[in-house]
């Protein structure tokens, strides 16, 4: 990918020519996925400001890392262990857009029955694993599932586990990385380093500049990539995936990106970071940057771009309306699916 001067310190891996070719169709799919993610994000915030939903979390700035990772994810084979800022990744990995809106509106048709916070997407049939809001709590689940793949000799399958840089401060993050390294598990760790954990900047999370160097402590390779470049992301995740399926063990990929929006609709980032900082990163906004690259390389025409944007907006509008029209779960649903069968009879 042609590189504009970037604050995202292009690493050698990203600057080098990609090892894995993407077809024009795949490149267009990645771009559509990025557009969809941004449009869904904006819709979540709009619905919140309209008073229609209590909460939404955005992921602007994560489009490239999520669309690229989603393209590398092998549907029907791989297992995805996402975190709460991964709506785009889940959609890029096969989670239906309409179900994102069931979740936002907390409708009965939501796969979690309207129980979970929005953005905690889960769907076993798509290989997207359930997780809580407890940061890094899902990391050990990912390595446990990767262990199960190895245990059953399912050599063509891997687990992909994502998290933010804040998660790397958690003890369970370390424990998961350590076990994955000891057992050489078929797993790819992708750190979506957006530099902010709510209001806490990276330099207060860790004493090092790069998350990726922590990989050395676990006997695995650490890779730094430009998280605004979806091709670099796809390439790195695919390389790590191939290594994992051939018995080479885990990889820690650090995709450096940026969080353009506040943490969630309940946050106000003006209270802890400067407008100038956000704007300086906006110059590298991965969505228009990838759009320019696709046009320059003749993958899409400006007319194609307009048609794609229209189509994405149509999809999001239709999903919004359809989900809004669905009913809430019944109050009696509070009492179901705690354990198999009934829980204690006197509840």
């Amino acid at each position: 990918m042609a590189k504009a001067p970037s604050a995202h310190a292009p690493a050698p891996a990203a600057a080098a020519a990609p090892h894995h070719e993407l077809s024009k169709e795949q490149l267009r799919a990645i771009f559509r996925s990025m557009l969809l993610q941004r449009t869904v994000d904006n819709r979540g915030f709009q619905l919140n400001r309209q008073g229609k939903i209590p909460f939404a979390a955005g992921s602007e700035g994560h489009e490239a890392v999520q669309a690229g990772t989603g393209m590398a994810f092998q549907r029907g084979r791989d297992l995805l262990f996402p975190y709460y800022r991964d709506v785009g990744l889940c959609m890029a990995s096969g989670f239906p857009t309409i179900e994102v809106f069931y979740s936002l509106f907390a409708r009965a048709k939501d796969n979690g029955g309207g129980r979970q916070f929005p953005s905690h997407l889960t769907k076993k049939s798509a290989g997207i694993y359930s997780f809580s809001s407890i940061i890094a709590g899902h990391m050990t689940h990912a390595v446990g599932a990767a262990y199960a793949l190895k245990y059953r000799n399912e050599h063509d399958r891997v687990a992909i586990c994502t998290f933010g840089e804040g998660a790397t401060s958690e003890g369970e993050w370390h424990e998961a990385m350590n076990f994955a390294g000891v057992q050489r598990l078929p797993i790819v760790f992708v750190c979506e380093n957006n530099q902010w954990a709510i209001s806490t900047p990276q330099e207060k999370q860790m004493a090092v500049k790069d998350v990726a160097i922590k990989a050395a402590g676990y006997g695995m390779e650490g890779v730094i990539i430009d998280g605004f470049d979806p091709i670099a992301v796809y390439d790195a995740v695919t390389t790590a995936r191939e290594k994992a399926v051939s018995g080479g063990g885990p990889t820690l990929i650090e995709a450096k990106c940026y969080r353009f929006l506040s943490h969630t609709t309940d946050d106000d980032d003006r209270t802890y970071r400067s407008k100038e900082e956000v704007e300086s990163h906006r110059k590298d906004d991965p969505v228009p940057r990838f759009e320019r690259w696709l046009v320059e390389h003749g993958i899409v025409s400006p007319a194609d771009v307009e048609a794609l944007k229209k189509d994405v907006l149509r999809e999001v509008n239709e999903c919004t309306d359809a989900a809004e029209a669905e009913p809430y779960p019944q109050a009696s649903e509070l009492y179901t699916n705690l354990v198999e069968g009934a829980w204690e009879p006197w509840q």
């Binding site: 297992l79 796969n111 905690h120 050990t140 369970e172 699916n337 204690e344």
Partner: protein, 334 residues
């Protein structure tokens, strides 16, 4: 495998060991994981020899990190294995608290049944073995509050096997508590073959009509001894219920007994305040207050963190059979 009529006398350690062995033998999805379960065969030698027979993938020595022992087991369970995770001593379970309470017990609920977590967490608990501050505590009350988390604490070898089989077969997470002092102290007949004892069913160990004693773990054996002596020496008739499952609680068995004896005493080694006895007392007060002829009595571990290493400190914490006898006598005569 059907239950055979043949029984074998074994202690609680042997009962757990036999059950784990059969589980590994009968189901390739089953694996054992924890600290020092491999070549060492667990610190109480429960898994000794397993590594040679089943290999390191199924008898998995984990890094020394309790949160990940449970967390990794949760991931395995979500992905279709049937892990049996071991926390070496219950005292060390706190780093895994989030994984047990925040993750395992909520997996089915938060995904509305899309994911399940069939997981057994075994851990030795309890004192009277000079275990001091961090090798002798009881942890059940700390997990008792959690909806969906099953907790069992068998006291006899036959129950050790039946409830461990039930826990392994269960489609949801089960915390399986083994009282350390009963490991080699308590022996009994254990049926051969595969059988289960339903989780949530108490056992009336001894019938009587003058007082109901509800207990679990080591204290059950002491309560039986006390009740036997009181009958032999003083003709007092005390009923003793072994809870076996702490949660779900067998409300019916407790209430039926209390309505017969009209008096309730609860004995547990765990601290009194906010303990299992508090919930049983509240349940009986709600359901059967007017059937009672005496205030409910709780004979429990004192409200200090745990027992100390020094013998007098340990003895002061542990409930002696003599103290049980004395309180039982007072309750019957009330």
């Amino acid at each position: 495998m059907a239950v055979t009529t043949e029984t074998t006398v074994m202690n609680n350690v042997e009962a757990v060991r036999t059950t784990l062995y059969e589980a590994l033998k009968n189901d390739s999805r089953t694996l054992i994981m924890g600290e020092d379960v491999g070549p060492r065969g667990n610190v109480f030698l429960i898994t000794k020899g397993f590594l040679d027979e089943f290999g390191p993938q199924r008898v998995l020595d984990t890094p020394l990190a309790e949160a990940s022992i449970v967390g990794i087991a949760v991931g395995m369970a979500m992905e279709g294995l049937r892990p049996i995770a071991e926390i070496q001593f219950a005292d060390f379970i706190f780093p895994a608290f989030n994984q047990i309470v925040g993750e395992a017990a909520k997996t089915r609920y938060r995904s509305n049944g899309d994911f399940t977590c069939p997981l057994v967490i075994r851990t030795p608990y309890g004192g009277g073995v000079r275990g001091s501050l961090s090798h002798s505590i009881s942890v059940e009350a700390l997990f008792y509050h959690v909806p969906g988390l099953k907790i069992v604490a068998p006291s006899t070898p036959a129950d050790m096997k039946g409830l461990l089989n039930a826990a392994i077969d269960d489609p949801d997470p089960v915390l399986y508590l083994e009282h350390k002092k009963t490991y080699r102290l308590i022996k009994g007949e254990v049926p051969g073959g595969h059988y289960t004892i339903p989780i949530g069913k108490a056992a009336v160990r001894r019938e009587g009509h003058q007082l109901t004693v509800v207990s679990y773990g080591l204290n059950v054996h002491q309560a039986l001894e006390a009740a036997n002596q009181l009958e032999a020496d003083e003709a007092l008739k005390v009923e003793v219920i072994d809870l076996r499952s702490i949660r779900p609680m067998d409300k019916q068995t407790i209430l039926a007994s209390v309505r017969k004896t009209r008096k309730l005493m609860i004995i547990h080694e765990d601290n009194k305040f906010g303990g299992i006895g508090a919930e049983i007392s509240a349940m009986v007060a709600e359901e059967a207050l007017f059937d009672l002829d005496a205030p409910i009595c709780r004979l429990c571990g004192p409200d200090v963190p745990p027992m100390g290493y020094a013998l007098p400190l340990e003895e002061e914490f542990m409930i002696s059979t003599e103290r049980m006898k004395q309180r039982m006598r007072e309750m019957v005569k009330f």
